[in-house]
Amino acid sequence: MDTKVDTSVHASPLGFWKRLLLSPNGIVGLVIVLGLIFCAIFAEHLAPHNPAKMGTGGRFLPPNSDFFLGTDEFGRDMLSRILYGSRITLLIGAVAVGISLTIGMLIGMLAAFRRGWIEAILMRSTDILFSFTETLIALSFVAVLGPSLQNAVIAVGVAGIPFYARTCYSAALVETSKPYFEASISIGSSPGRLLFFHLLPNVLPTMIVVATLGVSTAILAAAGLSFLGLGAQPPTSEWGYMLAGSRDYINRAPWLMTIPGLAIAVTVLGFNLLGDGLRTSLDPVERK
């Protein structure tokens, strides 16, 4: 049996924040993500114009002092649309990851905790779904449910479940073999107590890292579906959808293409960097 002292992250909660803020990836990621949340919350106050109002300015105005990011084919203000779009994007990321994370963690924890045939069935089916790849699962879901933003988010969320279940399963397996867990079993703790008071808090750090990195994957996937016309429908100011519309005006108004793409890239970069920073601050092996 493993008798080494557990060097878990709980040993130094202060050290974690310090490490995160000192890692270049973590701090840049945190600033980008906080900035996005700020934009999303205060979109009404930050946006200079109504994002949905056509003819606010002329059509295809290049970026100028009135319209910092120019206007689109209907004369709508691009800056306002991008700002409101941050709301949709963050919501997409949160809901999709919420779906993958909750169901994935339940499957992973249950499989590691129950073992036996439950483990075999859950993990074998997870393996099979995993080899379908997320794109195919998401596409099949949209094919069945029909194109809409809501369906695209559900599709992306469901497509992520196998990955989260696998990761949670391997993290939970490690925990269930640790002395504290075996001790808790031997004093007769109820399954509910074992699952939610012992297993859950200890797999959570790993899953937070996975979920942070997962937000970027989910945002990319949903934007990709919207780009294909299988997600957000007009007149939503969803960035992937805006990017798809820009194709027709690529010569006339290249800013319609560069700006939403940049917005997606920066958002995804922010969550990737934050996830990277979290991983290095939580994982003592990576840190060196």
């Binding site: 596409l139 194109p147 194709r247 293409m257 793409g261 920066v266 990737n272």
Partner: protein
């Protein structure tokens, strides 16, 4: 090695078998009447015709009978006919599949040729400015949406500079989509190669190799490269699946006539036989490639080969 491969093979068959079940169930998961929905877009379809289609698809039979009917036809190479045009689905897919495979394979070469040397260089210069710069580049590359990269490449190389055609299906047309798909995956290969090489370089047998006086170039080539590239080979199967998924989007940007573009069109037109055929083909391709790469891995890695 045979045990390793037979497990993978069994898993592959299981995956394809589950796909056939899912594909049969797919049409039943559609909210409402699938036949009505499929024909909603074509005018002048009589109720008799709809009833006939329902019967020919076997939708009036119990679901397990439908599955057996589907499997029976599948073994005869019959994937049904398209709703629009009434062409055999298998024919439609086989016309386009080579285009998609060509795109994915070319992109894979680009990703490896760019990603692996960058990862190796970063690992070799670990901790230096070069390493940091390359890894910043890689994380930026991973964060970049490939559909955006595609549009930008289209804008600069096809429209601004006029060097390459915007769309079509010749070799020249392959360059931009393959570059789009390849570049966005090169970053993943770079990160993977770097961490794998760093891992290998810190191991005892590398110290031993240096200690017995082997020249650095030889240690790098014979020991570090060989051991460090193995995880990269393992990842190729998963990467190929990503490429196939990414091809769906990229084909649509560049109007490349592959199965991905066909699938998206079919979703819009509610052409379920094509969608079913696409899902099945996609998973067969991904499973076959994954098994081939596992076999390659087993041959390359003596620890598995001799097991």
């Amino acid at each position: 090695m045979w045990h390793f491969l037979s497990t993978r093979l069994a898993m592959g068959f299981l995956t394809i078998w589950v796909t056939t079940i899912m594909v049969t169930l797919l049409i039943h998961a559609v909210p409402g009447d699938p036949v009505q929905i499929m024909y909603a877009q074509s005018q002048g379809t009589t109720p008799e015709q709809i009833e006939q289609v329902r019967r020919s698809l076997g939708l009036d039979r119990p679901i397990h009978i439908q599955y057996l009917m589907y499997m029976e036809r599948l073994f005869q190479g019959d994937l049904g006919v398209t709703i629009r045009g009434g062409q055999p689905v298998l024919e439609v897919i086989f016309q386009r599949l080579p285009n998609t495979l060509m795109l994915a394979v070319t992109a894979m070469f680009i990703a490896i040729l760019i990603g692996v040397p960058i990862g190796f260089l970063a690992a070799y210069r670990e901790g230096t400015v070069i390493d940091i710069a390359l890894m910043v580049l890689a994380i930026a590359g991973i964060s970049m949406p490939h559909f955006w990269l595609g549009l930008m490449l289209l804008f600069f190389f096809a429209l601004e500079l006029g060097w390459l055609p915007v769309s079509g299906n010749s070799i020249m047309n392959l360059i931009l989509p393959a570059l789009t798909l390849g570049l966005s995956n090169a970053a993943i290969f770079a990160r993977l190669t770097r961490s794998s090489m760093i891992d290998v370089m810190s191991q005892d047998f590398i110290q031993t190799a240096y200690a017995k006086g082997l020249p650095k170039a030889l240690v790098l080539r014979r020991h570090v490269m060989r051991a460090g590239l193995l995880p990269v080979v393992t990842m190729m199967g998963l990467q190929f699946a990503f490429m196939m998924g990414g091809a769906i989007v990229v084909e649509n940007i560049f109007s490349w006539n592959g199965v991905g573009r066909m699938a998206v069109e079919a979703i819009f037109q509610r052409d379920y036989p094509i969608i079913q055929g696409f899902i099945l083909t996609f998973s067969v391709v991904v499973v076959v490639v994954a098994i081939a790469i596992d076999a390659l891995y087993a041959v390359l890695d003596p620890r598995i080969r001799r097991a």
